[in-house]
Amino acid sequence: MTAAQLFVEHVAKRFDRREALVDVTLFAQGGITAVLGPNGSGKSTLLRCATTVMTPDAGTVRIDGLDPNRERERIEARRRIGYAPQDAGFDVRTRVFDAIDYLAVLKEIGGDRRRRRTVLEVLDRVGLSDRVGERVGDLSGGMRRRLLLAQALLGGPTLLVLDEPGAGLDPDERLRLREILAERRRTTTVLVATHLTDEAASADTVVVLGSGTVRFAGSPGQLAAHAAGRVWVQAGFPPPGVRSSWQQADGHHRCLGHPPAGVDLVEPTLEEGYLMVQDALPTP
C-alpha cells in the first residue's frame, strides 16, 4: 500500500459573493499535511474539494492522477479516501456498530463476516470497542469525534482527510489521535484541517490559509522561523504597537512585533510564526 498522491492546482470556489478559495495549489504524498487557518479561511472547502464531495469552480484536483470530474475515476479515487468532516455525525438513535457498519457497506467492504471484523477493528483502534451496542446519543462529544475517525479508517485509506479531528477531545484522546496519525505517516497521505497550532506542530508540512488563499506552505520549523527576530521578552509593560503580548509566569512579557532596540530576542514558537504569516508582516 502506497500513500496516495494528492494534487490540488489553482483551485477556486465561490459561494454567492464570498470567495472561499482563491487560486489554491497544494501537493501532498505521504506524511501529515496540516491546513492551518482561522474560522472561515476556507479549510473545510479545501478539504471537500480534495475529497471530491465538492466541485471547484476553477482548477483541478487529482488523486493518484484520477480526475474526480469523470464518474469512473471519481469512484476509483473514493476507494482511496477516508474522510471525517467537521460537522458530520450520526443519528443519535443509531447504534455505534450499525453506524460504522453502514459506512463499511458504502465503502464496499464485502462479506458479512469480513465487514463485521473490519468494523470492530476500527472501533477497537479508536477505543470504542466496548461501546458497540450503545446508541450514538449516549456517547460523549469526544467519543463521537472518535467515531468519525473510526469510519474514516475503514478499508485502510491511502488518503486520510480529517477536518478538525482534535476538536472536543481530551488530552488522552488527542494523544491517541496523534498516535493513530503518526503510525499511518508512511503508508497514507494525511490531510488535517485545524485552527490549533499545537495540532499542526506534529505535521510534516503546514499550509496556512487566510481568506481562501495560501499564505504559507512549508515545515513547522519554517513557519516558526517567520517570526524570527520578532519575538522578545521584557520586564514591565510592552511598548505600544506590538502585535500581541502576554505575561508569562515569571512576570515578564513575551511580545510579538517590531522589537525595540536593546531587547532580548527569543526563539519564536509555531503560533508566533503563524500570527506573522496571517498578518503578512515583512520579515526584518
Binding site: V53, M54, R78, A84, D98, D101, L103, L106, R113
Partner: protein
C-alpha cells in the same frame, strides 16, 4: 503428536470468533428484511437511517387512516383524498431520509465509492414498495376504493421520479415540495377542466404520468453526478 501452530492463523481465527460474539444483534426491521431474502448490504443501506424508518411508519399510519375513511361508499371525498395523497407518500419518505439536513452522516456517504444515485434509488424503491403495499392493501379491503386500486400507482412513480429529477438541481426537501405542489395543481386543474374529481387518474392522466416518469428518469440519469455533490444535498 505435536501439531505446529501458526500464530497468524490462530490470531485471525480468534478475531473472527470475537467479531461474531461482539457484533450486536441486528434490529427487528433488519432481521425481517433479511428473512425475506434482501441482501444484508441493502438492508443496512435502508435500515441505517432512522429518518427513513420514521417516514415508513408515518406513511403507513397516514394510508391506514385515509383507507378507513375511503372504506365508506358514501364518502367520495375520502377516496379522492386517498388517491391524491397516496402518490406523495414515497416522495416524502425519500425527502425525509436524504441530504445533510435529514442525515448527519450524508457528507461521509458522499466520499464513499457508492454512487449517491444508487443510495437514493435503493431508499426510493424501498419506500415505494412499503407505500404501494400498504395503499394497495387498504384499497383492496375497501369496496368503494377497489375499482381505483391501481389508478394511483403510475402517478406515484411519476411524482417520485419527478422529485428525484428535481433533486439534481434543488435541495431534497425543496425538490419534493415542488413535485408535491405540481401534483396538487395537476389534480385540481384536471378536476376543474374535465368536471370529474378523478380525471387525473383516468386514461389521459395515466398517459401523462407515464410521460413524466420517463422524462424524469432520463433527466435523473443524465444529471446523476449531482447526487455526488454536497451542493445539492442540503
Amino acid at each position: 503428536m505435536n501439531t505446529p501452530i501458526d500464530p497468524a492463523r490462530l490470531d485471525a481465527n480468534w478475531r473472527a470468533i470475537t467479531a461474531e460474539l461482539d457484533a450486536p444483534r441486528p434490529a427487528r426491521t433488519e432481521r425481517a428484511l433479511r428473512a425475506i431474502g434482501v441482501p444484508s448490504s441493502v438492508v443496512r443501506m435502508v435500515a441505517a437511517t432512522p429518518a427513513l424508518r420514521r417516514s415508513w411508519y408515518l406513511s403507513i399510519v397516514a394510508v391506514v387512516l385515509l383507507g378507513l375513511g375511503a372504506a365508506d361508499p358514501a364518502e367520495r371525498g375520502s377516496l379522492f383524498a386517498l388517491l391524491v395523497m397516496a402518490p406523495l407518500l414515497p416522495v416524502l419518505g425519500v425527502a425525509m431520509a436524504y441530504g445533510t439536513s435529514a442525515d448527519p452522516s450524508h457528507e461521509m456517504q458522499l466520499a464513499t465509492p457508492t454512487h449517491g444515485l444508487r443510495l437514493v434509488l435503493v431508499r426510493a424503491v424501498t419506500v415505494l414498495v412499503v407505500s404501494v403495499g400498504t395503499v394497495l392493501a387498504m384499497m383492496l379491503i375497501s369496496p368503494a376504493a377497489r375499482p381505483m386500486a391501481a389508478a394511483w400507482l403510475l402517478p406515484a412513480v411519476a411524482v417520485t421520479a419527478a422529485s428525484l429529477a428535481l433533486m439534481t438541481n434543488r435541495p431534497p426537501r425543496q425538490a419534493t415540495t415542488i413535485a408535491a405542489l405540481a401534483w396538487f395543481v395537476t389534480v385540481l386543474v384536471a378536476r376543474v377542466v374535465a368536471d370529474d374529481p378523478l380525471a387525473a387518474f383516468r386514461v389521459g392522466g395515466q398517459v401523462a404520468a407515464a410521460l413524466v416518469a420517463v422524462l424524469s428518469v432520463s433527466v435523473t440519469v443524465v444529471r446523476r453526478g449531482s447526487f455526488e455533490r454536497i451542493e445539492f444535498a442540503r
